[in-house]
Subunit: 356 residues, 2 copies
DNA sequence: CTGAAAGCGCTTACAG
DNA sequence: CTGAAAGCGCTTACAG
C-alpha cells in the first residue's frame, strides 16, 4: 500500500492543497485500530511493545500531528493555558510570560495571553465569554488581578482551575506561587543600614497590590531591629509608576532635611528618583543611595545601575505552569501541596555602592 | 418548557458540575434547527427577522457560547492567530503583542504567542509541530524572524497565511506592514544637523535586521544633503543591545576628537551611550547630544529623556491582524492591496534639546 | 492487550 | 428562507 503524502506549497493563497494526515491514516498503515494509535500517542499503558514501535514508526513516516481541536472536543483537555494580565506591556508581565511560555513548550502546552482591562465596563462579560468559548485547561494570574474577587469569581464560575502568582490573601482559595516580599524588603533595608544610612526615605507602592504592604512591613521590621526612627515625613505613597517616583522623589530631595538613602519599592519608582537626583546634580550613591525592587530589565539600563531585589518571576511562572499541568491539581480538595515560595536575591549595584 | 441553567461553583476542584449549553439547547428552546442557530451566530443572511430575534434572545437567556473547538473542527477557521517572536521579553515584542491583542479582541480572535529560539536545533520541527497540531488562521511575524527564509518555508509548508511586520525584502511573498526607516533616520539626522552638529557619530544596528541598513542609508542621505562629511572612524557597528551601546559609546567618547552628537539607531544602544556619557560626566545634551530610535518605553525612563523616532508598533500589529482576518487575504493571488506603510514621528526630548 | 461503536458540538453540502 | 444528514478527527465507555 502506497500512501502519497503530498504537501503543496500555497504561499499567500490559502486554498488548501494540503493533505492532512489523520489518526485513521496512521492506523491503516500501521495495521491497527485508531484507538491503539490514540493509546500510543497519549502514552497510555497496555499496548504491546511491537505494536507501539510500529505505530511510532508510521507516525514519524507520515509526520502525523494529532489535531488539537479534535482532541479537545472529545476529551476534557485542551492543552491550552491562559495568562491573565492587566498590563501586558509591562516588564513584569513580559518576564512572567516568558517563564510560562518556556515551561509550556516543554510540556506541549500553549499559552494564550488574555489582557483584562478593568476600565472597560464589559470586561467581566468578555472574560466569561472567552472562558466559555475556549476551554482552557487552566489559568495563571498575577497581581493585581489575582487579588480581585470579581476576577476570581468569573474564573470559578467557569469551573476552571487557576494558580495565583504572589496573591495577597485567601490562601485556601487556590494554589499559588509567591516570594517573601517582607523578608526581601527587610534585607534591602539592612543593606542600606549597613552602608551607614540612618535617615532612609521610603516609597510605598500602589496600595491595591498587597506587595506594597508587605514591603513596607519589611522596611519597618529592619528599621526597628536596628533601633532607627522612622520619620513619617519621608515615607510616601506612590503607585509603582516612574511618574510617581519622579514626583515623590522631588518632594524628598527638595526638602532641607533630605534623606541620604531612598528605598523605592519597585524599580520604576527608583528610576524616577534617580532621574530627579540627576536633575538635582546629586551624586549617586555618594550623596544619595537608591534601592529598588523587582530587578526589572530597566534596572540595568540606568546609570548607575540600580541595586534591587531580584524577584524570580520566570521561575514563579514556570512553577505555576507545573501546578496547572499536574493531573492531581484539578482534583485536589484544597491547595495544600500546591503552595510554593521561591527565593529572592539582593542585587547590589552602583546605586548604593560605588563601582559595584 | 423550563430550562434549568445551573452553574455549580467548583473552586479548586475541577470536577465539573457545570451544565454546558450547546447549540442544540438553544435550537430546542427557540424552536428552530441547530443550523438556523448557527446561521444567526455567524451572521449569515437568509434568516427571517423574527426567528433571528428569537434565537438571539435565547442565546442571551441561556448565556450560550459556541464551543471554539467544535467550530474549528468542523470549519476551516480557528479564530486563533499566532505571533512568532524570537525575543518575547523585549519591549519591541511587548508593544507589538499589545497592539495585536487589542485588535484581536475587537475581532473575537485570540492570540497565541509562540517563541522561536533558533539556537535550539529542533526549532523548525517544533514550529512545524505546533502549526500542524493547532490550526491557526494566520501568523504575524516580526524581524528578524520575518526575514528568515527557513521560518517562512515552514509556515508556507503548513499552508498558513502570514503577514510580516517590517520585512526586509521579498515584497511579493506576503502582505506586510512597515514604516519608512530610511526617511525616519534622515529626519533624525536633519534634526541633529539643525541643532548645529557637524560631527555626528553613528551606531549601526544588528546587520541581521534590514532596518539597520535602511537607517544607515537615511543618515547618509541627510549628511550628504547637508554637505557634511561622514567620518568612518565614528560610524560603528553594534547589535541593538545596551551592551553594544556601552562598548561603542566608550570608543566614541574616549577618543580625542569625539563627536558632539551620536545617533544610535535604537533606544537600547542610545541608552548605553547615555550611560557612558554620565560616567564621563558629560553634560547631555550640551556636551553630547544623543538620538535614539524606536520610542521604547525605556526612552522615557532615562535622564535626560531620549530624543527618538516613534515607531507605530502597536498600529502596525493591528494592521497585520486586520490583514490576517480579512476574508480576501487568504485568497489573494498576490499581496498587492495588502501592503501598508505607517507613519513615524520624531520625538524631540531632553537628550538633544535642553529642557525639551 | 485490543477494537467497534458512539459521541464531543459544531459546520458543510445538499435538498426543498 | 429552513432543516436533516453527514462528517470534522479525535477520545470515552464498553466489550471481549
Amino acid at each position: 500500500m502506497l500512501f502519497v503524502h503530498c504537501r503543496v506549497r500555497a504561499g499567500l493563497s490559502g486554498v488548501s492543497g494540503l493533505t492532512v494526515v489523520t489518526i485513521k491514516d496512521v492506523a491503516a498503515r500501521a495495521g491497527v485500530s485508531p484507538k491503539t494509535v490514540s493509546r500510543v500517542i497519549n502514552g497510555e499503558a497496555h499496548v504491546r511493545a511491537d505494536k507501539r514501535e510500529q505505530v511510532l514508526r508510521v507516525v514519524r513516516e507520515l509526520d502525523y500531528r494529532p489535531n488539537a481541536f479534535a482532541r479537545s472536543l472529545s476529551s476534557s483537555r485542551s492543552y491550552l493555558l491562559g495568562f491573565l494580565t492587566d498590563d501586558p506591556s509591562s516588564g513584569y508581565a513580559a518576564d512572567v510570560q516568558l517563564g510560562a511560555l518556556k515551561r509550556c513548550r516543554e510540556r506541549s502546552y500553549h499559552l494564550l495571553v488574555e489582557p483584562i482591562d478593568r476600565a472597560d465596563p464589559h470586561w467581566a462579560r468578555e472574560l466569561a465569554g472567552t472562558l466559555g468559548t475556549l476551554r482552557l485547561d487552566g489559568i495563571m494570574l498575577t497581581p493585581p488581578l489575582c487579588d480581585d474577587r470579581k476576577v476570581l469569581e468569573v474564573i470559578e464560575a467557569a469551573d476552571l482551575p487557576y494558580v495565583r502568582i504572589s496573591p495577597s490573601g485567601e490562601e485556601d482559595r487556590s494554589g499559588y506561587v509567591r516570594m517573601d516580599d517582607q523578608a526581601a524588603a527587610a534585607e534591602m533595608t539592612r543593606h542600606l543600614i549597613s552602608l551607614g544610612h540612618k535617615r532612609i526615605g521610603f516609597l510605598k507602592g500602589d496600595p491595591a497590590h498587597s506587595a506594597s504592604r508587605k514591603r513596607f512591613a519589611g522596611f519597618v521590621e529592619a528599621m526597628i531591629a536596628a533601633h532607627l526612627p522612622i520619620d513619617p515625613a519621608i515615607v510616601l505613597e506612590g503607585d509603582f509608576s516612574v511618574r510617581s517616583g519622579v514626583e515623590l522623589g522631588e518632594t524628598l530631595l527638595s526638602a532641607t532635611d533630605r534623606p541620604t538613602a531612598v528605598f523605592a519599592t519597585n524599580d520604576d519608582m527608583a528610576l524616577g528618583v534617580l532621574m530627579v537626583a540627576m536633575k538635582h546634580h546629586l551624586n549617586v550613591p555618594d550623596q544619595l543611595a537608591i534601592g529598588g525592587f523587582d530587578d526589572a530589565p530597566t534596572s540595568r539600563l540606568a546609570w548607575p545601575q540600580l541595586t534591587t531585589i531580584h524577584q524570580p518571576k520566570a521561575a514563579m511562572a514556570a512553577a505555576a505552569v507545573d501546578m496547572l499541568t499536574d493531573p492531581y491539581y484539578r482534583q485536589a480538595e484544597n491547595s495544600i501541596g500546591f503552595r510554593r515560595s521561591l527565593d529572592y536575591q539582593l542585587k547590589v549595584r552602583g546605586s548604593t555602592v560605588p563601582d559595584a
